[in-house]
Symmetry: C2
Subunit: 246 residues, 2 copies
């Protein structure tokens, strides 16, 4: 059930995240933690768990990944992990810049979670169930279909049109990126990782393109894929896995 991947054998931190078929790292919230770790110059061993396997993470006394384990300390929830890394690993670059930056990043977190995810996730969940095992697929299907009261197929049926609603919500982001390279300014901050995690998730689970090719966010997404020696890009996209071009 569990795949351990400790590339350099020297990690003291452990990150629990979701693993799909062929070890696909498809959890968007775990990508926030993964990129926050890289930003701070930290490495962690990753332990991949199946989304339906709540026993594997019962030690954390809650039922969601990511979970960061630092010796005796267990931190669940991507936002809390970011704060933990910021406050306990002072040597690396800041994720928030300052207290005001942290407070406003919290707003970006809520904006992405409450406005953007509910508009994009239902459109591509149909694809997600194809890249996880049968038990996880049944678990996710049940969860999403209960939340939206429609089948995954119905939710995705008109996505070519419905994606315009998602794109419209990105308008304030687009306006910001006309003035600066990243949401956080001249370089990426945790606010960028939050937003990017949604696009990284989409890229891994689906070949459906959420952005128009002329969108200013396309250039930003490329810059995000390039960060930390192409860390996010090193995870194959769904198109690459399927053998097509993207």
């Amino acid at each position: 059930v569990v795949i351990i991947d400790a590339p350099e054998g020297r990690a003291v931190l452990t990150l629990y995240e979701l693993g799909g078929l062929d070890g696909r790292r498809y959890s968007q919230f775990s990508w926030r933690a993964t990129l926050a770790l890289a930003h701070k110059g930290l490495t962690a061993q990753t332990i991949k768990v199946r989304v339906s396997d709540k026993a594997a993470i019962a030690f954390s006394k809650q039922d969601k990944v990511p979970i960061l384990v630092d010796r005796e300390t267990v931190v669940a929830d991507s936002w809390k992990i970011a704060e933990y890394l910021e406050d306990d690993f002072l040597s690396g670059p800041s994720l928030f810049g300052c207290d005001t930056g942290r407070a406003l990043t919290r707003f970006v977190n809520a904006f992405v979670d409450r406005q953007l995810i509910p508009k994009l996730a239902p459109l591509i969940m149909r694809d997600v169930v194809e890249i996880v095992d049968a038990e996880d697929a049944a678990h996710l299907r049940k969860q999403i279909e209960a939340a939206f009261r429609r089948s995954l197929e119905e939710l995705a049926a008109d996505r070519a049109n419905e994606i315009t609603g998602f794109r419209r919500i990105l308008d304030p982001v687009r306006a910001s990126l006309r003035a600066q390279s990243f949401l956080a300014g001249v370089s990426a901050g945790y606010a960028d990782y939050i937003l990017f995690s949604l696009f990284q998730w989409a890229r891994i689970v689906s070949t459906f393109e959420p952005l128009e090719s002329t969108d200013a966010l396309v250039g930003w997404r490329e810059r995000m894929l390039d960060l930390h020696d192409g860390l996010a890009r090193s995870e194959p996209s769904r198109a690459e896995r399927d053998g097509g071009a993207r």
Copy 2:
């Protein structure tokens, strides 16, 4: 046409803003500048212009208030004014906290301008034309009715129901304010002034209440009204002007 109000006779800064009937200070973008000035401990003489009187501000080579004049320097646009105050008046408290804070405040600016204003403004423009003179009223009516392709009366007709759409967009703000007293954290920053300016405008031009009484934003709005010795509260609300209670 112009009313000069220099309370302490020592202002070196001049702020051009809109003046309605009885000198009502109803420009939301000017409130951003007014509160930013107070935040920095600065005073300015205010010059009130009518919204249809473009000749009065032609010197600025554009046609919108607020405009800040600092001796030979003319700064138009509320965002640029905030940046000018932050960069040229280093002694007062920071409006942004740090560069990341500034970059993310720019996102909040775009969020308020592009998501919130278009949802609230059409619902209460019918009330605005009652608190400006006839020429300004005609100017505003023409402008808004052209933009939305409906009469001000039609736009406001179902506002008791349509306001729910506005309230829903505030959800990320609400989530942030559950964790902190202000958008910018433990104390107000320019991000708060941006958002508050919309509620301050609504309070001045209309008796229509945009928030439910149970909304967490109500407490935040009260805190904003209290700041800087009740600066925003000192401008009478529409309800107060009309002789009713609010």
